[in-house]
Structure formats: structure tokens, C-alpha cells
């Protein structure tokens, strides 16, 4: 085993340790999602539809 081999082994071990530590850090970081707007858009459509087609007034009750 040459000195270069030793250096290579040490470097490989250090790199592996660093990756394990760093991966731990990145896994802790929460990934924010983009919220879907389709449900809200559909709700807006429904709300406006309710305005565009107002319910007919209830017929007076005959006594």
C-alpha cells in the first residue's frame, strides 16, 4: 500500500462521513409545496354562479 493509497482511503472515508452529515441537514429542511388553486377557483365559480342565478323567491304560502 503506497502513501497515495492511504490518502485516497482517508479522503473516501472523509467524503462519506461528510455526505452523511450533510444529508442529515438537507433532510431536515422542509420542502414547501405549491398549493393547488383549482379548488379555490371552482369555489369562486360556484359563488359567482349563485349570484348569477339567484334563487327564485319562495312562493307565498296560501292560507
Amino acid at each position: 500500500m503506497t502513501p497515495l493509497d492511504v490518502v485516497a482511503i482517508v479522503m473516501a472515508i472523509l467524503q462519506a462521513v461528510l455526505r452523511m452529515i450533510e444529508r442529515g441537514f438537507t433532510k431536515d429542511q422542509v420542502l414547501v409545496a405549491i398549493r393547488a388553486i383549482e379548488p379555490d377557483a371552482a369555489q369562486i365559480d360556484a359563488d359567482v354562479d349563485a349570484l348569477a342565478h339567484p334563487p327564485a323567491p319562495a312562493a307565498p304560502v296560501k292560507s
Binding site: T26, L31, A41
Partner: protein, 179 residues
């Protein structure tokens, strides 16, 4: 590859992670580090993903606000979003004319490209998040390209909004050019 790197650079520069004028070399270095599995570069990529999501979510709120207002305006009403609802001001129970109904249909049709573009942006971002959480190197290697996809998807949303006269917040580092 170069367009991907340029798009990625826009975001990274906005995050203050790439000095203005540092040149493409810095970005190439980050890209290479990422491909090597360097978690420092992965953290940068996750920051970029979150920054894009924050802007996209703010943009989504603007889109919904204007969508509500434009629909009400088609019915000759004013109002605003309240929570998840679209509420008209005052007494809104007036007789709706055929012309108003036609105007309402036109508004909804005109907004479909924007709503679709936002959905496409969300899908692109979901793919990015999945890649950022992947453990295999092959998937992680796709992250720079996926960030570029998301940036392009956001540009498409902003363009669709622009057609409707709606201005959306800009992505970090967006300077209106290709840099």
C-alpha cells in the same frame, strides 16, 4: 444544458447565492457539486425550490383575487375574496342579463390558460421536490434541469397573467432578461 444553468442562476442569484457578475462558472461549479452529491449544493437547490414555491403561492393568491373580481365585474358587481369565497359588495341579487352571462363566460374562458399554467407549474414543482427527496444519484442529478423547468413554468404563468393584465410577483433573481 446552458439554458438550464442560466435559469438556475437567476434563482440562485436572487437568493444571494451567486454574486452578480460572478459568471456562469459559479453556476457550473454548483451544478457539478450537486451532481457529485454535495449536500451544500443540495441545500442551495432546496432553498431555491422553497423560494420558488413561496413566490408561486403568493402569485396563486393574486390570481384568485383577480379571478373573483373579474367575474364579479362581468356581472357589473364589485366584491372581493373572503377566505375561499368570492363575495359581492352590497345587495348583489339583481336580475342578471344575457349580456352579463355572456361576459361571465368570456372571463372564465379567458382565464383557463392561466389556471392551467399554474397547475402545470405545480406539477413541475412537485417533480422537483420528489427529485430533491430522492436518495439515488441518478434522480438527484436531474435537479438542476428540474429547477430550470419550474422557472420556465413560472414564466409561462406570468406570461398568461400578463395577457389578462395581471401582474404577478417576480421570481427571486428575475431581471426580465435571460440572465
Amino acid at each position: 444544458m446552458l439554458p438550464d444553468l442560466l435559469a438556475l442562476r437567476r434563482v440562485l442569484r436572487g437568493l444571494g447565492l451567486v454574486m452578480i457578475g460572478a459568471g456562469i462558472g459559479t453556476l457550473v461549479l454548483i451544478g457539478v457539486l450537486h451532481l457529485q452529491g454535495c449536500a451544500g449544493a443540495q441545500t442551495v437547490a432546496r432553498d431555491a425550490s422553497n423560494a420558488i414555491a413561496d413566490v408561486a403561492n403568493a402569485a396563486g393568491e393574486v390570481v384568485l383575487d383577480r379571478y373573483c373580481e373579474r367575474q364579479l365585474a362581468a356581472l357589473d358587481l364589485t366584491g372581493h375574496r373572503a377566505g375561499t369565497h368570492c363575495v359581492a359588495d352590497g345587495d348583489a341579487t339583481h336580475d342578471v342579463t344575457p349580456a352579463e352571462l355572456a361576459a361571465l363566460a368570456r372571463v372564465r374562458a379567458a382565464w383557463q390558460p392561466l389556471l392551467r399554467a399554474h397547475a402545470a407549474l405545480r406539477h413541475a414543482h412537485d417533480a422537483l421536490r420528489a427529485a430533491l427527496d430522492a436518495t439515488d444519484a441518478a434522480t438527484r442529478a436531474q435537479v438542476p434541469a428540474l429547477i430550470a423547468d419550474v422557472v420556465r413554468a413560472y414564466d409561462a404563468v406570468a406570461a398568461a397573467a400578463g395577457v389578462l393584465g395581471v401582474t404577478l410577483p417576480r421570481l427571486p433573481g428575475a431581471d426580465g432578461g435571460a440572465s
